[in-house]
Amino acid sequence: MKKHILIVDDEPEIRELLGQFLGGSGYRVSAVPTAVEAQRLVAKDPPQLVISDLQLEDSDGLDMINQLKATLPDTPMVLLTGVFIDAKVVRETLSGKVAGYLQKTAPLGKILDEIRLLIGP
């Protein structure tokens, strides 16, 4: 059975590209733009991994991750960061809160390596 990944990002292109890529890599992907929709989907169809942008339309990514952890305590959560956030800062400050972080500018192969490291192929 394919593993389920939830992508939460307010940018449609990111959702589409990442969803297409991870779908082609053997995962079942759900992609939503807001924290509210993410909560609703998690309740219906719990994922094995959550990838969330730091900045969402209706919420902060970290807040949403904290809320999701209440429902999915064992599910790894990954932050998808843009150039606004310094990677080093994220690594140093958020490592205890998230399982990992991915930069939107990173190649897809690297993103896939990171995901496989967390939940396997």
Partner: protein, 543 residues
């Protein structure tokens, strides 16, 4: 795939024929048996009816001739003056002329022979080869007291007696026919006496035996009262009647026949006989003379035996036909199916993927030959198709791989573009979000980029600024002469040396030529430790 023995076509065909045979042979045999039985029994009945008629006709011929003789004699005696001697002569002549008479008598009414003779009755009977004479008027007999005499007179015509044993006379079973004769007295026809003739019944038995009936055939002759005159079992002759025998042998059919004959009816009947212990068929017919009846019967089994034999022959012939048909089918199917079996083997090989199996080119031009040629053609076509399919598969795999690679590359490219756009957008955002005036300039000190704050403060259009010398609108106040040609010098010098210039007083000229006092800071732009340009950040001095 190997075809099991029971699934082989010849075996199935043979099985079907055998099954058909097992159903059809008994069925046909039974139908033929029934039809044959019906025909045989119908023929037997016809023969039986014919035999019955023959016996009846034979009896009637004899009895009729006797009747004729007696009637003639009675008429001959009418109005004839006779003497006892003449009566004796006539009687002897009759006996001599009619050898089938065993007795003959002429008896007269009182004084009919002469006024002096009260009664006269002359009787002759055969005793071996000689004739014996008796006086019927003798005190020991007195013919006028006898039934046969009085009944004949009472009837006034020919009268047949019931058969009886003539004790003291012919000493045999006889039947008597008697007739009155008359005299003309005063113009009146008056009875004068009775002539009577007796017939020994041995001839009846002979007559029935002369007619050859079937092996099991038999004849019954019975009298008007039902007394048996002829019966295959001699112990019943004269001792039993039809009714008594019917009762004795629990054969009610005999009584039925008797009643029908009495009613002058003829016909036939089949029934299970307790006398013969078999199913018998009997034809019956009344004899027109004497009130007798005749039955001709036979055992149906005699004819059904023929049918049984016929049935056996039918079964054997059908069985033989079946075996022959089986042999023909087996040989034909073997001949016809051997090439098909080879083709079946070949088709199995082809189905397994072995397109190189050998198909022997046919020498025959029948349907199997055409089929074999079609197989050859199919084999060649399949070989071509296999090569074609392999090529298509290979090409498809290549295309699919290329497509996957292309899709992957396309996706990577789109992601990279997205990342680049993201980077640029946010870089732009950062610069554009700075409220101070930012100039990016080249190593030659020409403006390459400005933020919106520059356009906003100076009123210069972006097109007017890009690629213009920085010194065109920015002037450091350290330049005491204010000569524009020298403005850039400390700036160019700092840039050449890779030094920052921080918070220097300067002025910036707007599009209207108005000079605005500002604080000027410059940072060299380095790419791999090489100065490629600079960034100037200008802060407006609040007034």
């Amino acid at each position: 795939m190997r075809v099991s023995f029971l699934d082989r076509l010849p075996v199935r065909l043979a099985g079907a024929i055998l099954l058909l045979g097992f159903i059809a042979v008994p069925l046909v045999s039974e139908l033929k048996r029934r039809a044959a039985e019906r025909i045989v029994l119908q023929q037997a009945e016809v023969q039986s009816a014919t035999a019955t008629i023959a016996v009846v006709e034979g009896l009637q011929d004899v009895l009729r001739s006797v009747e004729t003789t007696v009637r003639y004699l009675a008429r001959d005696l009418e109005d004839r003056e006779l003497s006892p001697a003449e009566v004796d002569r006539i009687t002897r002549n009759v006996m001599a002329g009619t050898p089938n008479f065993c007795e003959f008598s002429i008896s007269f009414e009182p004084r009919a022979l002469g006024p002096d003779i009260e009664r006269f009755g002359h009787y002759l009977y055969r005793n071996g080869s000689r004739l014996v004479e008796r006086d019927l008027a003798a005190p020991g007999y007195r013919y006028w007291t006898r039934d046969w005499y009085n009944d004949t007179l009472g009837r006034g015509g020919l009268t047949w007696s019931e058969p009886f044993f003539d004790q003291g006379g012919a000493n045999a079973n006889v039947v008597r026919i008697s007739a009155p004769f008359y005299r003309n007295v005063g113009g009146r026809r008056v009875v004068a006496g009775v002539v009577a003739a007796g017939l020994e019944l041995g001839w009846v038995q002979q007559l029935t035996e002369e007619n050859e009936f079937f092996d099991t055939g038999y004849v019954l002759v019975f009298s008007r009262d039902g007394r048996l005159i002829v019966h295959p079992n001699p112990k019943y002759v004269f001792t039993e009647t039809m009714d008594s025998l019917a009762q004795k042998t629990s054969t009610p059919e005999l009584a039925q026949i008797y009643q029908r004959v009495l009613a002058k009816r003829q016909g036939s009947i089949s029934y299970l006989s307790n006398t013969f212990h078999a199913r018998i068929h009997e034809n019956y017919k009344p004899v027109e003379i004497g009130g007798w009846g005749v039955i001709v019967g036979y055992k149906e089994s005699e004819f059904l035996r023929q049918v049984s034999a016929f049935r056996w022959i039918t079964q054997v012939s059908l069985g033989a036909t079946l075996v022959l048909l089986l042999a023909i089918v087996l040989l034909t199917t073997r001949f016809a199916l051997r090439p098909l079996e080879r083709l079946a083997t070949v088709s199995q090989e082809i189905a397994r993927g072995n397109l190189d199996c050998e198909i022997v080119p046919p020498r025959r031009n029948d349907e199997i030959g055409h089929l074999t040629r079609s197989f050859l053609l199919m084999q060649e076509t399949l070989k071509k198709n296999r090569l074609l399919e392999a090529a298509v598969r290979e090409r498809t795999a290549e295309v699919a791989a290329a497509n996957t690679k292309l899709t992957s590359e396309n996706l990577e490219r789109r992601w990279a573009n997205q990342a680049l756009e993201h980077q640029l957008r946010y870089d732009q955002l950062i610069i554009n979000s700075i409220a101070d005036l930012v100039f990016v300039f080249t190593k030659a000190m020409n403006i390459s980029r400005v933020n919106p704050a520059v356009v906003h403060l100076t009123g210069w259009e972006l097109q007017e600024l890009i690629n213009s010398p920085l010194s065109r609108i920015v002037r450091l106040q350290e330049d005491p002469l204010g000569a524009r040609s020298k403005i850039a010098d400390p700036l160019a010098q700092a840039l050449a040396e890779g030094r920052d210039l921080r918070d220097k007083p300067a002025t910036i000229e707007d599009r209207n030529g108005r000079r605005i006092p500002v604080r000027f800071t410059m940072f060299p732009l380095r790419d791999r430790d090489k100065v490629v340009g600079g960034i100037a950040v200008i802060q407006e001095i609040p007034t």
